[in-house]
């Protein structure tokens, strides 16, 4: 059994088992997970987080594999988070992204973890943020997050990435769908994968005209890169575009702003946790129900909220 201290130290020393266990804790949204996250946050903030999103089957995992191999040539270490949807009915999931990652499995400079999109106490973005922070604190130079850009929750996750790749493929990742999910707005780099397939150039062209319509940011013009991930074509160009984007972020001090936003996110989560704890505790103590019936009689709800918080603080402050 690993305790908080062992996991905390182990992650900073780059120990795999500690990282794996810590990720399970933040994944389950437990108290020890939150505690670990809070302690590791100050050690994070160095990694370049790259989000990779797009419809199922466009080749995201294959691309992650190709990118990883390319980054490893320059000795950069790579952490990978692959998010797959859970069944809304059973909460279960089949996480199959490792299938495409076989080339890197024996490499100590690469760590991959699969996450399911549901079954998280505080939502997907919270679990992903926690996982990212742990990988970052563990010292990975680059972190790749793969998500199916299907729902709002998955699009939300992308705000933790400094660079977002939106992946399309000819005949897949249907254009209209992509716009609906708001996926075009979040892309910093567009990848048309399966460049070997017929229709790839047409996809590039229609993407270009669509981007012309939605483009808002004037200083960074999202490039469109054609790749064939399964035969390693266009990967060098893609890595160059990623580097360019990173340079752009750094030059415009956006990098630092993002770090600040993450700190803000941590604070928001901590506040939410506290409110949840206050509710839980006061229900358990029965104060909650006394407050409810008094409010029903016309007393002030904010006054009771303050009262519940101050009682909780006295006990837990």
């Amino acid at each position: 059994m690993m305790d908080l201290e062992t996991v905390y130290q182990g992650i900073q020393e780059g120990r795999r088992r500690a990282l794996a266990r810590g990720l399970s804790w933040v994944d389950e949204g437990s108290d020890r997970g939150n505690a670990l996250l809070g302690r590791l946050f100050p050690h994070a903030g160095h990694a370049h987080v790259i989000g990779i999103t797009g419809a199922p089957g466009v080749g995201k995992s294959t691309l992650v594999n190709a990118l990883t191999l390319h980054l490893r040539k320059t000795k950069q270490t790579v952490g990978i988070l692959a998010v797959d949807p859970s069944s809304p009915f059973t909460g279960g999931a089949i996480l199959g992204d490792r299938i495409r990652m076989q080339d890197s499995v024996d490499d100590q400079g690469v760590y991959m973890r699969s996450l399911a999109s549901r079954g998280h106490v505080g939502g997907l973005s919270r679990a992903t943020f926690g996982a990212l922070t742990l990988l970052d604190a563990a010292g990975f130079d680059v972190i790749l997050i793969e998500t199916v850009g299907a729902g709002q929750a998955e699009v939300d996750v992308m705000r933790f990435a400094q660079t977002v790749l939106v992946v399309l493929a000819p005949g897949l990742g249907d254009d209209i769908q992509a716009i609906k999910a708001g996926i075009l707005e979040i892309g910093n780099i567009f990848v048309v994968n399966k460049g070997d397939r017929e229709g790839a150039d047409r996809t590039v062209r229609s993407l270009r005209s669509m981007l012309g319509l939605t483009s808002t940011s004037l200083d960074w013009v999202p490039p469109i890169i054609k790749t064939s991930a399964d035969r390693n074509e266009g990967i060098g160009e893609l890595v160059q575009a990623i580097e360019d984007h990173k340079a752009y972020l750094t030059n415009h001090a956006i990098w630092d702003q993002m770090r600040e936003r993450q700190a803000e996110n941590l604070l928001e989560q901590a506040l939410e946790d506290m409110v949840e704890a206050v509710k839980k505790e006061s229900r358990r103590q029965g104060e909650w129900y006394r407050a409810v019936s008094s409010i029903r009689q016309g007393e002030s709800a904010p006054a009771f909220a303050r009262e519940l918080i101050s009682q909780w603080l006295q006990k837990n402050g």
Binding site: A20, R21, S86, T90, G92, A93, V105
Partner: protein, 129 residues
């Protein structure tokens, strides 16, 4: 949440059985990591550790279990893993079952096992979550 790695070591040519198990476990509310065919014991153990799974479900049809399974168990022990439930399925002759259990496998499920039995076994040993 129970996390399971469904692993296919060795040279088996198909993974229909493994996929049936994977789906049954998913439908029972578990998170199933599936890594495809032809995995080496090293790859399997690396995946099991990285994914911090509660259960490792190994499927072997080829008859190579007498070498593959002890190797996997040895690697798990070398990494001080003592809380992972290890299950074996596929085509495992009755006579080999004691040796597999002696190697550290918790339960062997033969061909034609009702997937519900596997689900129940996992729940019994790893809680109902």
């Amino acid at each position: 949440m129970i996390r399971v790695l469904v692993a296919k070591p060795g040279l088996d040519g198909h993974d229909r059985g493994a996929k049936v198990i994977a789906r049954a476990l998913r439908d029972a509310g578990m998170e199933v990591i599936y890594t495809g065919l032809h995995q080496t014991p090293e790859q399997i153990v690396d995946a099991a550790l990285s994914e911090d799974v509660d259960v490792l479900a190994i499927s072997i049809l080829s008859g190579a279990h007498p070498t593959l399974v002890p190797r996997i168990m040895e690697l798990l022990r070398a990494n001080d893993v003592d809380d992972m439930l290890v299950l074996l399925g596929g085509i495992i002759p009755e006579d080999d079952v004691p040796a597999m259990k002696a190697a550290g496998v918790h339960q062997v499920f033969g061909p034609g096992t009702d997937t519900q039995d596997i689900v129940d076994f996992i729940r019994q040993h790893k809680g109902t979550a």
